[in-house]
């Protein structure tokens, strides 16, 4: 029995894309890379203690003083470990990837939530995106975009976008039928129905999706260090390569601290929306 030449076919497609769109992809990649670099350097201008205070303030607003204190301690610890530059570049990568995922994912989720056929089409695609081992995304990213932060963002977006789509889709589907009927019975346009009823009611669920997207972005940004994304992931990779257990642990702890802070922050926003009183 002959093997179906799947790998060969995919290679051919990738090659074709590279030949035909290579230049424009490169141009896009360069400008996007510049944007990330600028962001990183601007962030570096902010004194470390001010940034910590800003985070603490946000934590206090959405959650309470406990999270604020935890945030100050955690971030000060990262600074003390002298991982501040790596922390900043990881932060930028996570935020940009999450932002792109959310900006693309929520509209797709809205379409899926309102259109059953689109929901049926996109569901298996999302399954595919989420279950494919994340390392595999690194290969085409590497081929098209080379080594650096841009391919890292590309791979991260693919990996982190599904929850934004799924939760938005789910949130809109879960809006009680009678609330949708209220919208229709009072003569709302489809747009009014979306903005005045479906999105506000689905918002807590959508926030849970955003939380998931944030978390997946962080985990993928660390993995993406394999194709040249800087930051904490690069440190972890170096520690693995050189078998420096202590160093790996330091970088690892820093990732955990960021993860906890981002998670509690986004959850806090979600639950303050859920209670309804603003």
């Amino acid at each position: 029995m002959t093997k179906i030449p799947m790998a060969e076919a995919i290679d051919k497609v990738v090659k074709w894309l590279q030949i035909n769109f290579g230049e424009s992809i490169d141009a896009f990649s360069d400008s996007f890379g510049d944007l990330i670099k600028y962001l990183e350097s601007y962030l570096a201008f902010i004194p470390w203690w001010l940034l910590i205070l800003l985070f603490a303030l946000a934590a206090w607003r959405v959650s309470g003083w406990k999270l604020a204190v935890g945030t100050i301690l955690g971030l000060a610890f990262i600074f003390n470990l002298q991982l501040w530059p790596a922390f900043l570049s990881t932060l930028v990568l996570v935020f940009i990837s999450a932002l792109v995922s959310i900006v693309m994912g929520i509209p797709l989720g809205i379409i899926a939530g309102r259109n059953y056929r689109f929901h049926r089409i996109i569901s298996p695609v999302l399954d595919f995106m989420q279950t494919m081992p994340s390392f595999v995304y690194l290969i085409p990213a590497l081929l098209f975009l080379g080594i650096g932060t841009v391919p890292a963002v590309f791979a991260t977006v693919i990996f982190a976008m599904p929850p934004a789509i799924r939760f938005t889709d789910l949130g809109i589907r879960q809006v009680p039928v009678d609330l949708v009927e209220v919208g229709e019975a009072f003569g709302s346009t489809p747009g009014q129905l979306l903005w005045k009823i479906q999105l506000p009611v689905a918002l807590p669920t959508i926030m849970a999706g955003i939380n998931q997207t944030m978390m997946l972005s962080l985990s993928m940004v660390v993995i993406a260090s394999m194709i040249g994304a800087g930051g904490l992931g690069a440190g972890v990779l170096e520690a693995i390569a050189q078998l420096k257990i202590g160093m790996g642990f330091e970088y690892g702890i820093a990732v955990v601290i960021i993860a906890i802070i981002l998670d509690r922050l986004t959850q806090g926003i979600g639950s303050s929306l859920r209670t309804g009183d603003k």
Partner: protein, 429 residues
Amino acid sequence: MKEKIIVKNLVKVFGANPQKALALLKEGKDKAEILNETGFTVGVNNVSFSVNAGEIFVIMGLSGSGKSTILRCLNRLIEPSAGEIIVDGTDITKLNAKQLRKFRQEKTAMVFQQFALLPHRTVLDNTVYGLEVQGIPKKEREEKALKILEIVGLKGWEDKYPSQLSGGMKQRVGLARALTNDADILLMDEAFSALDPLIREEMQDELLSLQQKMNKTIIFITHDLNEALKLGDRIAFLRDGALIQVGTPEEITTHPSDDYVAKFVRGVDRSKILTAADIMKKPQPLIPLRDGPNVALRIMKEHGISSVFVVDRERHLQGIITVDAALEARKAGIMSLSEVELEHGPVVSEETPLHDTLTAMVDSKLPMGVVNQDNKLVGIIVRGSILAALAPDYSGSDSEDELAATASPDHKLVFAEEEMEQESANSAI
């Protein structure tokens, strides 16, 4: 009366391709056969009715009988499969999307069983929703909403969120939201079913008093017969998507069209549906205050009764004079009843339920007077008529000509008074 809504041969078949089921319906197959053959459910089966402007039209049936489906066809939340729905002369099944939105904004407002308040909006913001989507300026719509919120008794609650309200208050918001829209037609889908019994009755009473002021056309869905009888000007009975009977509460309870309806109304407490006005007899004989005990005695003798109602010129009830009192007055040489101390029997208003007249009757030997809003005597009730009304085969209050008499009692009384004056002249020996 003007017909506001006319529904002609409305059919709703649930399923992707209802044409086949529609064809089978035309052949006269029933719901179960069609489900077997096509797998489609017939929700509404060839229903026709009309609703008059300003009436409360109750659609009554068990769950699954298609009542909510019919209601949702009236504003096309559910698309009818066939038939016409004519509202104010326009067939709304033919409206396009934009026209339909306008129709829903201007003609109809809906109240939902589970209240369906938007959880992220305050009471006030929920109430203005209908005007908001119409693009009415914020100040104007909020002024209007505040007025309605005051009417439904929610003043001071404008800034609360739905999660902070009790069930009864939530439905008041639901009602306020519908009323703020100022539509002619209110569609109420089991609006009070989710409330506990005391609050439910309170809301029913409130709806009735609101309706007196606003005079909307209300389609009210319920599975509760007592609610239907209390609210409905007319009631439509529904079973398996088909209309079985349409009629006033009295027609339904006294002449059920088939066993299904009969079974339904059997358990009804008649003493709660019938009112004093339904069972009273015309107020005769009466005696004017200025007449003397002699006239009173003669009238009692003529009619074979032992007491007679005494009224003044405006037919306000003054009291009752009994045979014994009249005899004593004659012995004492009194010439006018105005000098006699009259006895006072129980008095009820026209709307008093029969149930309550019973209690009033127990404590008194005297007949009961029924007065209208202006405190004029419009009828009398004796023990016999209460018992007759409670008997199972009771149908209607009086014979038709007597009903006509109560319809214009003033004319009748003037006539009666003249008659009495003549008689008293004759008997003044």
